[in-house]
């Protein structure tokens, strides 16, 4: 099966994808260790540090850009994010990282994200390859 993803912020990364329900960086992710702490979230307790996340959309506060940026600075951010709905909040966290000399968070846009769960992905900018474990 082929997947079509549009690179929003290009990056080079590989690893296993984790599909999770929408969450908010602010109030949903610990700025101390990258743990998902959102109330009632099915993956509460998951550490998103270095994970390749697939999530339909992000929810909640506009402070999420600041939280994402701070996670990037502390090296506890996700490795990359696949999103169905691109939002300004996540984009800005990534854009500003570059502005202050940090590596931006790679963001790729596409559908059927649920299918990506536990697949391994290898991404080099515009080249995206998936394999089933």
């Amino acid at each position: 099966m082929t997947y079509h993803f549009k690179p929003i912020v290009r990056g080079i990364f590989s690893g296993e994808v984790v599909y999770i329900q929408p969450f908010s960086f602010w109030g949903g992710v610990s700025i101390d260790n990258g743990e998902l702490i959102q109330k009632g979230h099915p993956n509460r307790g998951l550490c998103i540090k270095n994970k390749i996340l697939a999530v339909k959309n992000l929810i909640g506060s506009s402070s999420s850009s600041s939280v994402l940026l701070e996670l990037i600075r502390k090296n506890i951010a996700p490795k990359a994010i696949f999103l169905e709905n691109i939002d300004a909040i996540t984009c800005m966290g990534s854009i500003i990282a570059e502005q202050i000399g940090l590596d931006p968070l790679p963001i790729y846009q596409g559908g059927n994200l649920k299918d990506l769960h536990r697949k391994t992905v290898k991404v080099e900018n515009d080249k995206i390859n998936f394999a089933k474990i």
């Binding site: 909640g60 506060s61 999420s64 940026l69 701070e70 600075r73 300004a88």
Partner: protein, 413 residues
């Protein structure tokens, strides 16, 4: 002169490098969001002044050194300090210093230092049809839904960059076509008596956010009324449980009548008592007599009218548990002028200004149970403060504060 910039065509000149830098960030964001057009804005509200760590400070410093200043009236959201009552904040000294530096940078950009998440009830109040670049999810929801202004949900940094550039990416909720509802929520099955309660609004807001997620809802078959504070609490809750930047309420909010023809074309979701109860459980519904450690009101920041309501309900003795009300310095000054502060102090109420209890360490312990009438506080209390939440009406919060044991008389589902 056109209010739009076509990024593929026009050459733009800038007064200084800071403005150029902010403009380029806005243009890059526009590209990511799939638009080549920017639109001139009339106001901004920036949430970027809330301190989260070095990174935000690094960016503000960069813009400041390049000479950036805002091009449109821009209000500041809460910071992580209470500048009128600094003793309330339990952060480390170094954090406080950096949080202050961050506020200083934003004031240096020419932002108005109101430090409030309800600027629309103070000095920054857009009009219907105005293009804006606002941060702070409750404020975005309010100006879109209640005032009929147009703003996307700007993340931190987007708000200040648009404020400095004077332009915002033209996409999403700035385009009329994208403001029409695509999900209909009927309150046909909810009793009139429940809908008449003030506490119904934030609870309904939380349900709306949960059900609608990133769609635009219109609420029909209801008994809701236009009350600013009630709609403020509804929108704040909806934005915290869902991705809601705009909602419509038939016959109540300013744009709803434009869409009455759609009401019969879209599938209808009926909100049920069960959905309301599930949401109440999620926000915290405790049992009568449960131990409550503190009360927290004021998310979004309390208005003067809300203080007047509490004032009437205050007992003649001191509350037995900590009782916090978060508000702006603007409203705090009104309370001072009206000689109302003393009665609050006598009851042991701590009035928090410039910030709030879920964005900065104010609560005495690292865990416990907090009672609130705010859907937003209830949603963010546990992750941000370690306190479990119980959600109840204002009157029940006050009764509970008398003994420290939960009273839940008002809300019954």
């Amino acid at each position: 002169m056109s209010n739009f910039i076509d990024l593929t065509k026009e050459e733009t000149s800038f007064r200084n490098l800071g403005i150029k830098n902010a403009f380029e960030i806005v243009a890059k964001a526009a590209e990511f969001l799939g638009t080549k057009k920017l639109v001139k804005i009339t106001s901004a509200h920036t949430d970027s002044c809330l301190y989260f760590g070095e990174s935000g400070l690094m960016f503000a410093k960069k813009l400041s050194e390049l000479g950036a200043e805002v091009a449109v009236p821009t209000s500041m959201n809460v910071g992580s300090l209470d500048l009128l009552h600094p003793e309330l904040i339990q952060s480390k000294r170094d954090t406080k210093i950096k949080a202050q530096q961050l506020l200083n940078y934003y004031e240096g950009f020419g932002c108005e230092a109101i430090y409030s998440c309800a600027p629309y009830q103070i000095s920054n109040r857009p009009e219907k049809g105005d293009y804006c670049a606002w941060g702070e999810s409750n404020a975005i929801s309010f100006i879109n839904s209640v005032l009929g202004a147009k703003s996307n949900r700007c993340g931190d940094f987007m708000d200040i960059c648009c404020a400095i550039a004077g332009y915002a990416p033209y996409y999403g909720l700035l385009i009329d076509e994208n403001r029409k509802p695509n999900i209909i929520l009927s309150l046909n099955k909810i009793s009139k008596s429940l809908q008449n309660q003030k506490i119904f609004y934030p609870l309904l807001g939380a349900v709306i956010g949960r059900v609608s997620q990133n769609q635009i809802p219109i609420v029909i078959d209801h008994y809701l009324k236009f009350n600013e504070d009630s709609l403020k609490s509804l929108g704040a809750a909806a934005a915290s449980t869902g991705d809601i930047g705009l909602y419509h309420i038939d016959k109540v909010t300013p744009e709803a009548n434009k869409y009455s023809h759609l009401i019969h074309q879209l599938p209808v979701i009926e909100i049920t008592d069960e959905m309301m109860l599930d949401e109440w459980k999620f926000l915290g519904n405790g049992k009568s007599g449960d131990k409550i450690d503190c009360i927290a009101l004021g998310s979004p920041h309390f208005s003067y009218d809300e203080f007047c309501e509490v004032y009437q309900l205050l007992p003649n003795k001191k509350f037995t548990i900590p009782f916090y009300i978060c508000t702006s310095r603007f409203v705090y000054n009104l309370l001072t002028e009206q000689n109302m502060l003393q009665k609050f102090q006598k009851c042991g109420v701590t009035i928090v200004t410039d910030t709030c209890v879920v964005v900065t360490p104010i609560l005495k312990n690292i865990k416990g149970t907090l009672m609130t009438n705010s859907g937003k506080f209830a949603n963010y209390s546990l992750p941000n403060t370690g306190y479990k939440s119980v959600f109840g009406s204002l009157l029940d919060c006050i009764k509970t504060a008398m003994t420290g044991k939960l009273v839940c008389d008002d809300l019954s589902l």
